[in-house]
Amino acid sequence: MNAGLTVVARTDAAHPDADRETILIVDDDATNRLVLRGLLKQAGYHVFEARDGAEAVESYFQYQPQAVLMDVMMPVMDGYEATRVIKETAGSSYVPIIFVTALMDERSLARCVDIGGVDFITKPYNKTILALRLEAVLRMRRLYAQLQAHAQTIKQHNEYMQQEQETAERIFTNMVHRGHLQDACFNYRVSPAAIFNGDLLLAMRMDEDSYRVLIGDFTGHGLPAAVGAIPVAETFYAMTAKRKPLRELAREINCKLKSILPPEIFLSMCVMNVSHTQLEIWNAGMPDVLITSENSPSMQRVASQHLPAGILPDAQFSAQTLRIELSAGARIYAYSDGVTEAMNATHDLFGEARLLQCLCQESVADYVECTWRAVAEFVQTPREHDDMSMIEIIPARI
């Protein structure tokens, strides 16, 4: 807008200073125009003139002045109509139009304001007062322009950041969320907000009859929580491909995170090796992992037994894993605390009891989907940071 104005002023006008403000005088009386022109020139403004409303509209869009001094009664098109047309065409941009009128009755003056004039001055006018009021109007316009420029800058920054974040998320997803999660032995869900907020879900086939799975949850939200996921994922895939034992993976991840993360950031995680008949598990700070079996209504739990990864120095670290025999129809459930801590409008938490209800229903094909629906129903209006991850492992399908 400003750039455009500068160009117009420089080419169409007799080379006025770029930072001098431009005023459009609209009056059908040549003497009035002459007086006003003299006054404004003296005050340092650059001046254009129009002889009626129609010319005013044309000049307005040609020269884009910073203010208009508008007479009311003119041939061809009067000041009201010219103002209406300018306002309509200018849209949201701020157009300071000051009516200079001989009409004194209240109705006429009210109409000046109604139609969108910012001020009115009655003729005959006092030169000093006119100059002061014009300056006040221009000051307001400058403020408005500044505000608009700031808003524009902020908008651009926002768009830029959004774009950056989207790209980063794509790269992140490619690095972290690959592997074999799509295989038939898994049902899983990770809420979109969780991916970039430090929830981790990784799975990789170890050999013919077993998989390795990692579910994890970094402290806090956003980028700081998310960056740590990258070395964890790299370590997971590399060590699983080499079939390194589970305890070595846990130790390596702990060691790596301890060396790179600040003290207040850590990773609650659970790593598992799963085959048809056996689960080997190391749960460090994740909610109880649940195991259901076909022939028994009771549920087996594997509680967290270790401090989360990234807290203890290697010397004090315990990578003691648990081995659990699995019955024929066993299913294993692991989730991040975002599921049980999903909150509704009255600040109640979804809680473990509701989760267990979901898992106890009979003949459900996908218990994760079922839980997700129950959480959505419970929460009603989802909040911005719904970090939830959950996986169902069906050993019989390995």
Binding site: T219, G220, P263, E264, G285, I311
Partner: protein, 102 residues
Amino acid sequence: MNSASVTCRQAAADCTVISIHGSFAFSVYRQFRRACEGASAQHRFVVDLADADYMDSSALGMLLFLREQAGGEAARIEIANCNSVVRRILSIANFDKLFSIR
């Protein structure tokens, strides 16, 4: 979310009590960090959670930050007056291995 705050008082020459009111979560991060200023291994800390109705994983992070400031291994930090919700969160994270919880 209800508003939360951190208050800090000197219980003895070598003991500071940090009290959390409301939700012990990321919103009190700055206040908590300020309360940790001047921590050292010579100093004892009590984190009083009598007024804390909830804590999330960033609160666990803040406790670890305090531990680091107060000398890491040598830190003497007690987490006091936990309600059942808070106690459960601390126990899932096995924080009893790092702090004395009562």
